[in-house]
Amino acid sequence: MCGIMGYSGHRRASEVLVEGLKRLEYRGYDSAGVAMVENGRLAMVKRQGELDVLQGALPRLEGRTGIGHTRWATCGRPSDRNAHPFLSCDGKLAIVHNGIIENHSTLRKRLEAEGHHFTSETDTEVVVHLLEGHFRGDLRQAMADTLKEIKGTYAIAAVLEGSEEIVAARKENPLVIGLGVQENFLASDVTALLSYTNKVLYVMDGETVSLTPNGVAIFDSEGAQVKREPSLVSWSAEDAQKGGFEHFMLKEIFEGPNAIHNTLLGALDLIENGEVLPRTDFQSVKLVACGSSYHAAMVGKYAMEEFAGVPTTLELASEYRYSPGARETPLVILITQSGETADTLAAAREARRRGCHTLAVTNVVGSTITREVDEVLYTRAGPEIGVAATKTFLTQLVAMYLVAIRIGYGNGTLSHASMRSALSSLRQSSNMVQSVLNRTHSIEEASRMLDRAGHCFFIGRNINYPTMLEGALKLKEISYIHAEGFAAGELKHGPLALLDATTPVIAVAIKGDHTYEKMLANISEVAARDSPVLGIGVEGDTDLGRLCERMIAIQPVEPVFSPLPVTVALQALAYYVARRRGCSIDKPKNLAKSVTVE
């Protein structure tokens, strides 16, 4: 989600813009830029990377009117060129945009034929050229004429050289105006305005705005001026971003179903039409990742073997890059949420050096990894603020299933009908996850079993073995309880010695899975050592229920897809345990969101 900021007043615009954009960081971004009216001419600076990079590149600018933007790439990779703002050919107009211009390619062809010169790969740039074409001295009129030609969604802000006016418009993207004394602001979110003013005007769909230091005028789509009373904002910036939730982590857990839905929307056609992995005749597959992504890769291994029958191996990125190259050229799939994980990037280079075909799975469009590999499959979880990966992990699982189904159909393991049916089950999974979230009160209750424990064990078999490793990781990350995941069959080879009445065990057993009976046997062994067992199983499973002190129920599900609902239950469990213990949930000690060092 991009962020927009605009200012016209008596302060140095560059400072206000950068400060405001920093408040919009939570929306996620990969590049940033500002443009302002400096001595009557437009000055523009834009940079890929963090706002600090932009700030470092900014000369001391005195301009008092300007616009700024943080970009989250959707059309065109992150780069200095693709960052906003964009200038018209004559350099007299600049714009920033948030949203998608659907008919940009048609418009671009026409504008290029008319002699306009394009400097980027973005959909946005057509807007500034259209605006230039329509400009006859009245910027707002030019904007109104431009909007008639574009299809899509937008929040747009524009400035003109030698003028104190900012013109803006919105359709299905947020835009809010902040009112000051002899100064006015606009932004994607009130968060960016709260350090300056709490008096705001909301812009509605289809409206255009003219903003100067002395006043703000709003016009409806017919051009008639709209009268609107300002609202007073009463909450703090951080509350604004959390939308009612106590922590980002909880908010993001609840965004899981939507993240899955969006990932599928972005990928189903690519998978069905073979646009991802047009070639599927690989002898083997190697999955390479770090941290939580590695657990997603482990689930991927089971999925790959189940749907595609391809021998699949796993490697930690930090190990793979230093490993001796074996005599094989598998398909190498690299999984990194941020696309910037240093070890995974190095592993991608190593895989290509070894002559392997490479596919990256990442949540960040145009991140570094996308330039190091042959193909990319995007998860579409949206920005994640909480350090503990939640919705991004779920979408990585979805990506694993998609790739496995694609390879399985491509190499003939799955018939067309079984491919369709697998994809249809996958589509149901967002609902399975929603259903777990509908019953978080039972998970909150269950968290009482763990909040005083010194140690916890997570056990599972088959495709839910990695799910439990991830469950243990989540718990230790945010609640600081020592937690370990084990393949249930390994219990007898050591860990069983550690069990007693003070060590809770979390166990998953999915009715219908071929290891279900074995799991029940393992749970009995645990219960016999007096360890309190928290079971996760299918609703109405009384056999499991009898063995456990408490049970978290999920909807009946095809076992292969059960990691999705089970994971979300474990994420919620970790959250509620940490909350009970009063931990700093969104920023656990010693941890960072993206590990860009080796």
Partner: protein, 396 residues
Amino acid sequence: MKAVVLAAGEGNRLRPFTVSRPKVMIPIGNRPILEYVVRALASNGITDIILVVGYMKERIMSFFGNGARFGVQISYAIQEKQLGTAHAALAVRDQVQEEFIMVAGDNIIDAQAIADLLGHGDGMAMLVTESEMPSKYGVVHIEGGRVVDIIEKPDKKVGNIINTGIYRLPPSIFDHLEKGVMAGRSGITHVLHGCLPKIKMEAVRSTGRWMDAVYPWDLVRLNEYAFSMAGQETSGTIEAGVTMRGPVRVGAGSRIRAGCYIEGPVSIGEGCEIGPYVTIFPTSSIGNGVNIAPFTTIDSSIIMNNVSIGSHSHISRAVIDDGCRIMTGLSAPSGLAQVKVEDDFFKVERAGSMVGEFTQIGPRVVLSAGAIVGANCRVGDGAKVSGTLEDRSIVV
């Protein structure tokens, strides 16, 4: 001016559709009921909105967030236990210092309804409207433009002007509400009723839209009236040989296969797989990720998210909740039916069937007109269901 929207209750007469969502989040025309309310407020420039949430509050919070998507600023007040609307309203006491608007979040309203209330001078006011079924609501007596009496759910006919649950109120109302709650009065109207002799409450007639669903079959009617879209707006893939008439909306990533006949108004969500050869008749809404197999007919129904419907099925005036799986040959006609809800019997014309979330229905099943199937039920091959099935029932 601030608006306080009451959205904390379950709406249990709408079960099974409130098993895992509050009534305000039931989709009508593919949007939650509460979205109509928020948009009606926003169109009147009321952008400072406090939602009082409680039952399944996360569903509301994760949908509306901070309101930026709707051009408003939303904050939340939590009513931990659902002890009635008067108690719910008290949850915002610290956040409201000036005159404010209070709206029930579970009725569909349009911008005009709010405009009527705003356009009518100052002071305490209640928005009232005519109803064909006054016995379900609070009937108001008006004298000289003032509300002088409210009779909750009258047994006999005492008038047809009812309270819409939309008010303009001063902050001093909280004192009355608190006293009322202490005296054991749980509903706002109940409290107001007690104060009416002392307070001056104007009655404002609504010329806008105000619609309510009390029982599950009302949702179908609501869906009919709520469709106010015009023109076609289609994304996704529409294969050649699909006929679409009237306003039809198709969301991103949906695929409508050849031979489908869709007569609008119809709204189809994102990522659906429809057809080939499926017929959809007017005022149907289909959610996200829905599969409908060939030769199936859907008429005036609400199909929620991730439902899959087998081939050769006939579904009329039904409401089917999230995640239901229906095999081939379901026959779910509508007709006159006697329906039982909470020990009361209702005679309902053109009643379809109501199916709760995650229910699985085997091949060749017949759901009689007015059948209510709970959530998580399993109905076996060839079964015939009439009347009401509790949640988690198994029919063999």
